[in-house]
């Protein structure tokens, strides 16, 4: 299990990385490598050039703006997991990060790499899609921004430009009062999930629930956002949540493999989505009661 031969470059800037990418149509970006390197070892992936972006300083930073938190593509998952900015302003991502792989892979795996790799069960991709995070790619010296909600189109497939380099993810700051829920199910704790669900309910004093974000992952070819906004303005009781999720799940197509039937994935995704929404609701209730 040894990779094919390839070249390796360590650019110092994003534009240098993009230049290398444009110069070889069989080049690939290497971020944390926790998904790519096993594929190299199995020779499923056969690049001619790997561009290691780990040493581009601006890719490893967090930027806080008034409305958003921007996470550099090379920020390690373990770093993001410990980040106070993430805990405070992207609580859903903070919850999800604990489910990504296990400690040694989180130490090397990156937030951007996970999104670019677009595994159907990736937790970070699910949160990004659920919250409609902005995904920025540098292409030909300019930034192109994609909405994570429609960025993923298949297993390991995205609409990212082939010569682009993912530079950062931008998440809108969660409001002061909001609730989140994240659930996933896997045979073993660190396996690819068989179903996962993420939910965030935003709340504003005076106007109540302002928006509800719900997404499911691992059950189809990519993470999918579910529309349950009809729940805004309702008391969010268990029955209403269940009805809304069941309705939203109706059109979802799920896949089958050795580990789970398509019916299982659908049933469990539905249940996890309900639980995630309930968790989010209960968090708000708790906040409001404090």
């Amino acid at each position: 299990m040894k990779p094919v031969r390839f070249d390796y470059k360590r650019p110092a800037t994003i534009d240098e990385a993009c230049g290398l990418l444009a110069g070889d149509d069989n080049a690939r970006i290497l971020a944390g490598g926790q998904s790519l390197i096993p594929m190299l070892s199995m020779r499923l992936s056969r690049p001619s050039l790997l561009i290691d972006i780990a040493h581009i300083p601006e890719l490893t930073t967090f930027v806080e703006t008034e409305t958003h938190i921007e996470i550099g593509a090379m920020v390690r998952q373990a770093v993001a997991q410990k980040s106070e900015l993430v805990k405070t302003h992207i609580p859903l991502l903070a919850k999800a990060l604990g489910h990504v792989g296990h400690p040694p892979t989180r130490a090397r795996g990156t937030v951007g790499g996970s999104v670019a790799h677009a595994d159907p069960s990736a937790e970070i991709a699910l949160v990004a899609a659920t919250l409609g995070a902005e995904i920025t790619y540098r292409v030909d010296g300019t930034d192109e921004i994609f909405d994570a909600s429609d960025f993923f189109i298949g297993p390991m497939l995205t609409i990212a430009p082939p010569t682009g380099c993912l530079t950062r993810l931008s998440f809108a700051k969660a409001p002061a009062v909001c609730g989140t829920g994240f659930h996933e199910v896997a045979p073993r704790k660190s396996d690819y999930a068989l179903a996962s669900a993420a939910a965030q309910i935003n709340f504003a004093a005076g106007s109540g629930v302002t928006s509800i974000h719900l997404g499911i992952g691992s059950v189809g070819d990519f993470p999918e956002r579910l529309d349950v906004n009809q729940l805004c303005g309702t008391p969010l009781d268990d029955a209403a949540i269940a009805d809304a999720v069941h309705a939203a799940m109706q059109m979802v197509e799920t896949v089958e493999d050795l580990h789970a039937t398509a019916a299982y994935r659908k049933r469990v995704a539905t249940e996890l989505a309900i639980r995630a929404l309930r968790d989010a609701r209960d968090e708000i209730s708790k906040d409001l009661n404090q």
């Binding site: 299990m1 094919v4 199910v185 396996d191 068989l194 789970a260 039937t261 299982y264 049933r267």
Partner: protein
């Protein structure tokens, strides 16, 4: 609970091997480099079955760093086929496919190159012209006359078809008030050590010697390599001082070794093949049993089980090997720990286009225990009787030992009821039941699993002559050599590799006990096969009994010599002497010290008794206790010792998610006298972890095209620290009357009952819905789907 009659045995002692392993200083096969060593990578067949029309390796051979490409045709012309256990001469097997491939992943040819990476580069350049053929994956289908034989020359897919009737089965069925039938299937899994198999061979033409280092746990390994390579036995030198990174039965590697041995001879270079994980999974030929059981069981209204009919159909994979014998070992405990008067057993093994089986922990006993324990649960369910009470009623009682079972083996000793009582007390069984009910009230599915079973140990491989009459094996000896050097220190030699069993600790502890010397001061070496006495490697839970036995007996022989020297020196009769901590004391208070004795034996021949050889060395080649005879009338004493284990666990799961969570796990374990408590406990914990894997996660699953779907650890799921709970072991000791210290085997403990127990717990949890899970592993998806089907 062991009696404190030993100084070193049964006391907490650090295993001596651990020091080098915690420092990363083990000597594993991949750690060995030889100058100018070449590397081998095999090419895997994509097809489940195909005829090979031709292999074009020219592009591969033209690559820099590529030394050779070996094909099956070349190899078959130069080596003998690998040995079969049964008389199936037309099921021929070579390390590389010859003319046709019989499973996806089978090695078609092998590249030899200056590095493993270069060899893999070259594999991609080899063009195999192959015509796909019909293939068969299911064992029942393979039995049909219309099915395509995996080996056309053999004429059918049948490797073994033996019917045994032990006792008055028909009469017992007639007399019984009830009978019921069911089927269960043990999914194809294996022990999957974290170290893959590896072998390094080096030929020295001047010495005419093939040196082999390998990651093996294999009886008669050197003999088989020599036979296949047509070399004299003493031209093969297998180095036993290789640490093996886990085996639990599967590290056999004959095919790898014959291939590498052939290449090493052909090229005159050291050659190494270390399987990568993909090769290990699909073509390491180390899959375990895949077995369907059809059981009919006869019983009375009061729960007395009278008789059992068992049909066991095993899917051996593409070649025969020793796999069919895994249907033979369970004959030694075919009634489990129960008083079942008669048994009919139909053992069937077939070839299919799947990866080849190898010996796996328990050698077929764990699947059989799963079938028997499922039967006990089904009977209890049928009668509306408590599962525990049913077992307690049928268990062999303490006063019945030695107990002769219908298939001809005597169980040596045991107190099954006492072990169960201890477990129930330790687990607080009533509280466990209450917790199950509480979980159920809270909306969870919850169940308690129990399993009682035996670990036959230390045996003679009598399943070989039983299933193959041309095989006349009636010994599986083990041996040990001991020497006291001229400075008075003791060194013992053992003649096998180790894969975590702690043989060095075993032998030093036993010898320390016998010689009354601190085991820390005893050195154990593992020489090569040419410097070794006969042995059969650590299989079948035999080393405590056989290697421990041989070491003890070698020590006793040394002591006898010491006593004779002392008697001569002190001028008193031996019975007037007492051995004490290495010194010999006469009844009159005179002391002949260890140092004096060493000096005398090594330097003062004139002071030795007449005719006595100088030096202080001994050896012992030990015969299997009780294993003296060949089978008669389809019956045989197969194992001298029977360890007992009783599992009790509580499981719960969410009815929608279906992911089993093991709350508490208690096992009662009686393996007689324990030599090293930490080693025995470790084996048991590890066996339970294996069993949890077999019950819930692990399977070599194939798609309908014969492709192995679980080639990586992303799909072949082994329990992590999250899936194995804290486990409580409740110890009991019923010594065996047949062994030197009363010890029995423990290397397979835990694994033999855990799959049955975990399955039982899940089935208990869903029993109110009328669901029976009849195949292992029971995946969470299957649990949830079954519940949904019943409740929607």
């Amino acid at each position: 609970m062991t009696e404190q009659k030993y100084k070193f045995l049964s006391t907490p002692r650090r295993p001596v091997e651990d020091r080098r392993f915690v420092a990363g200083r083990g000597k594993f096969i991949a750690d060995l480099d030889r100058p100018n060593m070449l590397h081998v990578a095999p090419l895997a067949s994509h097809h489940a079955a195909a005829v090979i029309n031709g292999i074009d390796a020219s592009a591969a051979l033209a690559m820099p760093g590529v030394v050779d490409v070996i094909t099956g045709a070349e190899l078959a012309a130069a080596v003998q086929p690998l040995m079969n256990g049964l008389n199936t001469p037309n099921v021929r097997r070579f390390p590389l496919a010859v003319d046709r491939v019989r499973y996806a992943g089978e090695w078609v040819c092998a590249v030899v190159a200056e590095s493993r990476a270069l060899a893999e580069d070259a594999l991609e350049k080899i063009i195999v012209d192959a015509t796909p053929q019909p293939f068969i994956l299911d064992a029942e289908a393979a039995l049909l006359e219309t099915s395509a034989p995996v080996h056309p020359e053999h004429g059918s897919n049948l490797l073994l078809d033996r019917k045994f009737v032990w006792g008055p089965v028909d009469d017992d069925f007639d007399a019984a008030a009830h009978s019921l039938s069911f089927s269960v299937t043990w999914g194809r899994n294996s022990t999957v050590p974290i170290e893959t198999f590896g072998v390094l061979a080096e030929w020295n033409g001047w010495d005419q010697m093939l040196d082999i280092w390998a990651s093996i746990q294999m009886p008669k390994y050197a003999d088989q390599i020599a036979r296949s390579l047509d070399l004299p036995g003493n031209a093969i030198r297998v180095h036993y001082d290789v640490d093996v990174g886990g085996s639990y039965g599967v590290k056999r590697g004959i095919k790898h070794s014959v291939l590498v041995g052939y290449i090493a001879r052909k090229l005159g270079c050291p050659v190494r093949l270390i399987e990568d994980r993909l090769e290990n999974m699909r073509a390491g030929d180390a899959h375990g049993p895949e077995r369907k059981f059809d059981i009919t069981i006869a019983f009375d209204q009061d729960g007395t089980v009278r008789s059992m009919k068992m049909r066991a159909l095993d899917n051996a994979g593409a070649y025969a090997g020793r796999a069919p014998f895994q249907l033979g070992k369970p004959i030694s405990a075919i009634v489990g720990p129960y008083q079942i008067n008669s048994v009919a057993y139909h053992a069937l093994s077939v070839t299919t286009n799947k990866t080849v089986q190898e010996a796996v922990r328990g050698f077929g006993q764990a699947p059989t225990n799963y079938a028997i324990e499922t039967a006990m649960d089904r009977v209890a369910e049928y009668l509306g009787m408590d599962r525990l009470a049913l077992r307690q009623k049928n268990l062999i009682r303490k006063d019945q030992f030695p107990y002769l079972i219908p298939s001809g083996s005597y169980y040596d000793s045991g107190d099954y009821h006492a072990v169960i009582d201890k477990v129930l007390a330790a687990a607080d069984y009533p509280a466990m039941l209450a917790e199950r009910d509480r979980l159920r009230d809270a909306g969870m599915m919850a169940g308690i699993g129990i399993a009682a079973c035996l670990e036959p140990s230390g045996g003679n491989s009598s399943f070989e002559p039983l299933l193959n009459q041309s095989n006349q094996t009636s010994t599986w000896m083990e041996s040990c050599q001991v020497n006291i050097d001229a400075l008075g220190k003791l060194t013992a030699r053992i003649h096998t590799t180790s894969s975590g069993q702690g043989h060095e600790t075993l032998v030093s502890t036993v010898l320390g006990e016998v010689m009354q010397i601190d085991p820390e001061l005893i050195r154990i070496t593992r020489p090569n096969s040419l410097e070794s006495l006969p042995g059969n490697s650590p299989v079948g839970s035999r080393m405590a009994i056989m290697l421990g036995g041989a070491a003890a007996r070698a020590g006793e022989k040394l002591k006898a010599k010491i006593m004779a020297i002392a008697a001569h020196r002190l001028g008193v009769a031996i019975d007037q002497l007492r051995y004490e901590g290495g010194d010999v004391l006469a009844h009159d208070g005179r002391r002949f010290t260890w140092d004096e004795m060493v000096e005398l034996a090594h330097r003062q021949y004139h002071n030795l008794p007449d005719g006595m050889d100088p030096g202080l060395a001994s050896f012992d080649i030990m015969q299997v206790p009780t294993g003296d005879a060949l089978p008669v009338d389809d019956k045989v004493q197969m194992y001298p010792c029977y360890s007992f284990e009783f599992h009790l666990l509580l499981v719960s799961f969410d009815p929608i998610i279906g992911r089993p969570d093991i709350h508490s796990y208690v096992i009662g374990h009686d393996c007689g006298t324990v030599i090293n408590p930490a080693i025995v406990s470790g084996m048991t914990y590890g066996g339970i972890a294996h069993g949890i894997g077999a019950a819930l996660f692990e399977e070599f699953a194939y798609d309908t095209n014969g492709q192995l779907l679980t080639q990586s650890f992303l799909d072949y799921l082994m329990p992590s620290s999250h899936e194995v709970p804290a486990i409580q072991i409740v110890k009991h000791c019923t010594p065996s009357p047949h062994t030197v210290f009363g010890q029995k085997g423990s290397g397979e403990s835990g694994y033999l009952g855990a799959p049955a127990a975990v399955s039982a717990a899940i089935n208990d949890a869903v029993s109110s819905l009328g669901i029976h899970f009849e195949k292992l592993p029971i995946r969470m998806s299957a649990i949830s789907d079954a519940i949904a089907a019943k409740t929607s």
